[in-house]
C-alpha cells in the first residue's frame, strides 16, 4: 500500500469548502449553471468540484447538482464531497419554486448557513395537473417554510425574466447568485465564466445582468396562492337601456353580498344568449333570495344566494355546440390566438380545431320534439351517428369552414327550444330542488349542495362522468341534512369526487359517510 502518513499531533486545518446545491428539473440547464460555477471558481484559482446524478431525471424529473470549492493549500488540493450534507450547504439554487420546497425537505436549507436563491415560478408536476379538480400545491407553504429554514431568501420569477431577455433560467440564476455576494468573486468574474462558455453569450449576459439588477433592487417577490378572480363591483349604469335594467334589478332585488357575483353571472348569460335569458336568471335568483332571507340568510351573509348566483350562471351557460362555434369564430379569439402563439408582423396564422361531433350533439341541438323522436329510434339514430360521428379538422381561417361554424353559432335563437336545453333545465330544477329542500333544515348544507355543481364539467364522456359524480354526491344530501358535520361531509365528498377520474376516492368517501350516518 502507498503510505501517506501524517502525525497524530499534526494540526488540522479548520477551513471548509463553500458548498452550492442546484435543484432543477430535466431540461432547465442545471448542468450549464453548475459548469459556470465551476469555471468561475477555477478561473479565480480555486479548486472546484461538481457532481450530479442525472440518471433518468434528465427527462422531466427533478435532479440535483452539487458544487464545492476551496483554494488549494501549499499545493495540497482539498478533498471535496460528492454529495451535499444536510445542514452544511451555503447556497441553494432552485430553478422552480416547489424545488425550493424540496431542497428544504431534504434538509439542505438551514438558518445558520443557507442562502436560498429560487425562482418563484411554478412548473406543475403531472400529479398536480392530472387531478380533475385543482391539484396545484399551495406555494405559500414554501414561503412559510423558507421563513423558518433559510438564512436569507432571494426569490423572484427568474424564468420570465430570462425569457424576456431571450435566454434561459440558468443565466438569470447565475446573475442572482452574483448579486447575492455569497461567493467571494466579483461580478466581472461571473460574466467571464459566461463568456468562456461560448454559447448564446449575449443573451445569457443580458439575462444575467437583468437578474443581477433585479436581485439588488427587489430580491423578493410576494408569492400569493391563486390569483385573484376578476370580480368587479356592480356598476351604477353601463349606458345601455336593456343592460342597465338588469343592473338595476340586481341592485334592487338581491342582497349586497351577492351583487358582484350576480353581475358576473348576468354578464356571462347576456354573452351566452341574450338579455331576456339573463333576466330569467335574475327571476330565479330573486325567488331563491327570498327563500334565503326566510331561513336566516342575513345572518349567514346570504351565502346561499351568492353561491347560487355563481353556479346557476354556470349551469345556465352550459357548453353546447352553439357556444363552442360562437367562441371559436369571434374576432377577439382570432387576435388572442395570434398573441398566444407569438405571431409577428407579416406572419400568417391559421387555426385548425379538433372537433368530434356525435349524433348525441346533433340531436341535442334539434328542437326537443324532433330530438326525442330520433332518440326513440335507436336504429335510425345509430345509422345517423355513423354519418356524423368522426373527427373533423375544422380550419376556421378558411371561408368554407368559418361559414359552417358561423351558421352553427347562428342557431342561438332556437337554443331555448332544443332537447339539450330541456335536459339541462330539468337537471337544474332537480339540483335547486334538492338544495332548497335542505335549506330550511340545514343552511350550510344547502350552500354546499349548490356548490356541488362544480363537478359538472367537460364534454361527452368526461361530462357524463362528471354528471354522474354530481348525481351521486347530490343524492347524499338527504342523508346528511341536519346532521352534525353534514355540510363538512358534503364538502368532503365533493373534494373526493375531484380527486380522480374514475371516482374511486368518491366511492371510499361515500361508504365512510354512509357508515357514519346510516
Amino acid at each position: 500500500m502507498t503510505r501517506h502518513e501524517t502525525f497524530p499531533t499534526a494540526r488540522l486545518a479548520t477551513v471548509r469548502p463553500i458548498s452550492v446545491a442546484i435543484l432543477a428539473m430535466g431540461g432547465q440547464g442545471g448542468g450549464v449553471l453548475s459548469d459556470w460555477v465551476v469555471a468561475l471558481a477555477e478561473a479565480q484559482g480555486w479548486v472546484a468540484q461538481s457532481t450530479s446524478v442525472p440518471g433518468v431525471a434528465q427527462r422531466t424529473g427533478a435532479t440535483i447538482y452539487y458544487v464545492e470549492m476551496l483554494p488549494a493549500q501549499d499545493g495540497q488540493a482539498p478533498i471535496l464531497s460528492l454529495m451535499p450534507t444536510p445542514g452544511d450547504v451555503d447556497v441553494v439554487l432552485a430553478a422552480e419554486f416547489m424545488e425550493a420546497g424540496r431542497s428544504m425537505l431534504r434538509g439542505l436549507v438551514t438558518p445558520e448557513r443557507t442562502t436560498l436563491i429560487t425562482s418563484s415560478h411554478r412548473s406543475f408536476a403531472v400529479g398536480e395537473k392530472e387531478k380533475p379538480g385543482n391539484g396545484i400545491g399551495d406555494p405559500r407553504v414554501v414561503v412559510e417554510a423558507a421563513g423558518i429554514a433559510a438564512k436569507r431568501i432571494i426569490a423572484f420569477d427568474m424564468e420570465t425574466l430570462a425569457t424576456k431577455n431571450g435566454s434561459v433560467i440558468s443565466a438569470a440564476m447565475f446573475g442572482a447568485l452574483a448579486a447575492a455576494e455569497v461567493l467571494p468573486f466579483p461580478r466581472s468574474a461571473f460574466e467571464d465564466a459566461v463568456k468562456a462558455g461560448g454559447k448564446g453569450v449575449d443573451a445569457s449576459l443580458r439575462a444575467f445582468s437583468a437578474a443581477y439588477d433585479r436581485t439588488r433592487e427587489k430580491p423578493r417577490d410576494t408569492v400569493s396562492g391563486e390569483p385573484e378572480k376578476a370580480l368587479p363591483p356592480l356598476p351604477d349604469h353601463v349606458g345601455h337601456a336593456a343592460l342597465d335594467a338588469l343592473v338595476t334589478r340586481i341592485r334592487k332585488e338581491l342582497p349586497a353580498e351577492a351583487h358582484a357575483m350576480a353581475f358576473a353571472g348576468v354578464k356571462r348569460l347576456v354573452d351566452y344568449q341574450d338579455v331576456a335569458y339573463a333576466g330569467a336568471y335574475l327571476d330565479r335568483l330573486a325567488a331563491l333570495t327570498a327563500l334565503d332571507a326566510a331561513h336566516g340568510g342575513a345572518a349567514k351573509g346570504f351565502a346561499f344566494t351568492t353561491e347560487t348566483a355563481k353556479y346557476l350562471a354556470v349551469a345556465m351557460a352550459y357548453d353546447d355546440v352553439i357556444r363552442v362555434a360562437d367562441l371559436k369564430t369571434r374576432a377577439s379569439r382570432f387576435d388572442r390566438v395570434r398573441r398566444e402563439v407569438g405571431a409577428k408582423g407579416d406572419q400568417i396564422v391559421y387555426t385548425t380545431e379538433y372537433m368530434h361531433p356525435r349524433m348525441e350533439e346533433v340531436a341535442g341541438t334539434l328542437p326537443a320534439g324532433l330530438g326525442r323522436f330520433l332518440e326513440a329510434r335507436p336504429k335510425l339514430f345509430r345509422a345517423m351517428d355513423r354519418l356524423v360521428n368522426r373527427g373533423r379538422r375544422v380550419r376556421t381561417g378558411t371561408i368554407g369552414w368559418f361559414l359552417s361554424l358561423y351558421v352553427v353559432a347562428s342557431l342561438k335563437p332556437i337554443r331555448l327550444r332544443t332537447l339539450r336545453h330541456e335536459r339541462e333545465m330539468a337537471h337544474v330544477a332537480h339540483w335547486l330542488d334538492v338544495a332548497t329542500t335542505a335549506l330550511p333544515q340545514d343552511y350550510d348544507l344547502a350552500v354546499e349542495a349548490i356548490a356541488c355543481r362544480r363537478l359538472v364539467k367537460g364534454y361527452s364522456d368526461t361530462h357524463a362522468r362528471g354528471q354522474s359524480k354530481f348525481d351521486r354526491v347530490l343524492a347524499a344530501v338527504p342523508m346528511l341534512t341536519a346532521k352534525p358535520e353534514g355540510a363538512a361531509w358534503l364538502r368532503r365528498l365533493k373534494q373526493a369526487a375531484l380527486m380522480d377520474e374514475e371516482g374511486k376516492a368518491l366511492d371510499g368517501a361515500l361508504s365512510t359517510a354512509e357508515s357514519a350516518y346510516r
Partner: protein, 717 residues
Amino acid sequence: MAERSFAREVQDLKLGEGEIFRGEGILAITKALLQSGVSYVGGYQGSPISHLMDVLADAKDVLDDLGVHFESSASEAAAAAMLSASVMYPVRGAVTWKSTAGTNVASDALSNLSSGGVTGGALVIIGEDYGEGSSIMQERSHAFAMKSQMWLLDPRPNLESIVKAVEDGFALSEASNTPVMLGVRIRTCHVHGQFVAKDNKKPAFTLRQAVESPKRDVNRIVLPPAAYVHEKEKLEKRWPAAVAFIKERKLNEFFGPTEGDVGIILQGGMYNSVMRALQFLGLADVYGNSVVPLYVLNVAYPMIDDEMVEFCLGKKAVIMVEEGQPEYIEQSLHTLLRRRDINTKVSGKDLLPLGGEMTAPVLIKGLTAFFETHARVLLGNRPPLPDAAPVLADPKVKALADVVPQRPAGFCTGCPERPIFAAMKLVEKELGEHHVSADIGCHLFSILPPFNIGATTMGYGLGPASASAFNVKADKRPISVMGDGGFWHNGLSTSIGNAVYNKQDGVILIVDNHYAAATGGQDILSSRADNPERSTKHPITDAVKGIGVKWVRQIDRTYDVAKMRDTLREALTSPESGPKVIVASSECMLNKQRRVKPQFNTAVKAGQRMVRERFGVDEDVCTGDHACIRLSGCPSLSVKHTDDPLKDDPVAAIDNSCVGCGNCGEVSEAAVLCPSFYRADIIHNPTGLDRFLARVRGAVISFLQRRRDSRRVVFPA
C-alpha cells in the same frame, strides 16, 4: 447520431504530456484508455457511462490516428466477448457498460474469459449504477468479480486516482493474466475535476498483426480438461500474481498516523465521504490530514491479506466501510483474522446500514458509535455537527411534504411514445385492462402517471418473453412492449423468436423511435439516419418477418392516435393465432428537434416559406376537467389559474415549448374529449399567394364577424 455532439470533449482526448485535463470523470477514463495504449474499445451505452461511448463515437480521427478500433457493441454480451482478442494476443482492450444490469448480460462471456485468462490487458469499466439517481436494481458488481476471479478496482473518486486506476488496471491484468473490472459510481462518472494528461500511446502490437498471424492454444479454451486446469491456474498462479503486483505497486493506500488504537478500512470510492464525516467529527481536515489511520482499498477484490493483517495488528478495533450488500469484504476480513487468530474487533455493518449509500450523515452516525465504543477519547470535545433535524421538525417545514409534488421522469415534450400509450388507454376503456409486460427504455415511463400502464419489467429485450407464461386459452391476450433498443439488444431472438417458436398468442408492441433514445440517442440497426461509420436502416419489420412472424403491422406515424388504437384493437381481437407484432415508429422528438430546429431557423432566415405548428387551448371553451392531461402528461401541456369568477378549477394551457407534435388534437379527437384544442399554423415568410388568400379570407371573415358583433348586446369589458 447521439443526442448531443461531443466535438468539444473530443478535443480533450488530444491533450498531450503535461497539459491539464478538466472535465467529467467518465471522460477522464476515456482519455486514460488512450494514454494506456488501448487497441480496441467496445461497450453498450447506459447511464452513467454513456458519455464514454458517445465521445469515442465522435472521435473517429483521434482513434484512426492511434489505430484504435472502437465498436458500439450490440449488447454487453457482445462487448464482453470482444475482449477475447486479448486472450491470445498482447493487445489491450477495454469495454464498458452500466452495472449490474450490463454485467448480468455479459457474464457468460466474462466467465469464459476469466477462466481461460488473458495475455493482453483486458479492462471492464463498470458504471456502478447504485444509490441516488440509479435507474436499476440495487445490487453489487463485486459478486461477479469474486465468482469469476476477476479483480475489481474501486479507486478514490478523483480524476487523478481513476486515471491511475485505468493504467494500473491494464498492468495488473497483464501481470496476472486476468481481466480486471474498474468500478466507478454514478457521482464519480459525473464528477468534474482535473488531472495532468500524458501523451496518447499507439498500441505496440496491432490488431492487424494479430489477425494476420493467428495464434491458438487449446489450453485457453474452456473445455475439459482445460477447464480444470484453469481453476488450478487461477488459484495457484494468477491470484498470487495479482496479490504480488498489487502489493509491489502499492495500489492500496494508507493515510493518517501509523499508530492508533482504531482504524478505518474503506473502499476507495468511499474515501471522500469518510473524510468529510471525519472532518465533521474533528478528526480530519479538508486537505486530507487524518487523526485516524485509514486503509483505502483501491483494489476492492482481491483482498491483500498481509496488508490487511498489518493494518489490524496492534489495533483494538477496525471498522469496515463498505457500500451495499452483502458485505463481502467485511466477511472476508472476519475469516482472515479468525484464521490468523488476530483478536482485533471488526465493526462494519453492525454499525453502518446494510443497504443504501454511505453519505456523510450515515457515516457520522456509524463512526461515532464505533469511536464511542473503542476510542472515546478521540471524539474529544465533540464539535457541533451539521444538523437539519431542528428545521425539519418545524411544522411549517413539515407541511412541505403535502405540497411538494413527486416529479417522476416522464416522456419529453412531443414524445412519439405518448400517443402510443394514449391509444392503449383508449383501447383499455373499450376492452378492459390487459396484462402488460413492459421492458427497458423510455417507454417504461408508461408505468408512471398519467398512463399507469405496465405490470412487470424483467430486463432489456425481455418484455415479450416475460409474457410467455400467459400463452394459454383466455378471453384476453397479454400485451408486451419493447423498444427498438431492447429489440436489437436481444429481443429479436429471446422475445420474438421465442414467441414464434412457442406460438405465443399475444400482442407485441415494438416502440421504434429511431434511436437507443433512453441512453442518449445512439444509432442502432433500424435508425433512419445515414451513419458513415455504421450500417443502419434495417427495418424491424423485415427482421420480425424474417424470423417467422405472420401478423405484422407497421405504423409510421404514432401520432395518429385513432390508427394506433384501431391497430391495437385489431391485434387484441384478431382471430389469427401466434404473435401479433405492431411496430410503432416515429422519431424521438428530442433528437428530431435537435436536428430540425436549426434547419428551420436557417430556412426562415434565408427567407423561405416555412410553417411552424404549435397547439393552444381556448381558455373559455376549456372547462378545467383535465381529461386531456390524463391522456398525455406532456410537459408543455399544463394548467393555469384563470381570473374567471365562474370557474373554480385551473384550465389547460399550452406553453411555448410546444413542438406541435399533434398529440393533443389527435387524442381529444380520438377520445372525443373536448373542442378546446386548436393547432395554429404559423406561416413564416408567406408567399404572394399566401398573402392574397389571407387577404381574401380575412375580408370575408371580418365582415361576418363585424356583422355579428354589431348585433350582439354585451356589457362593456
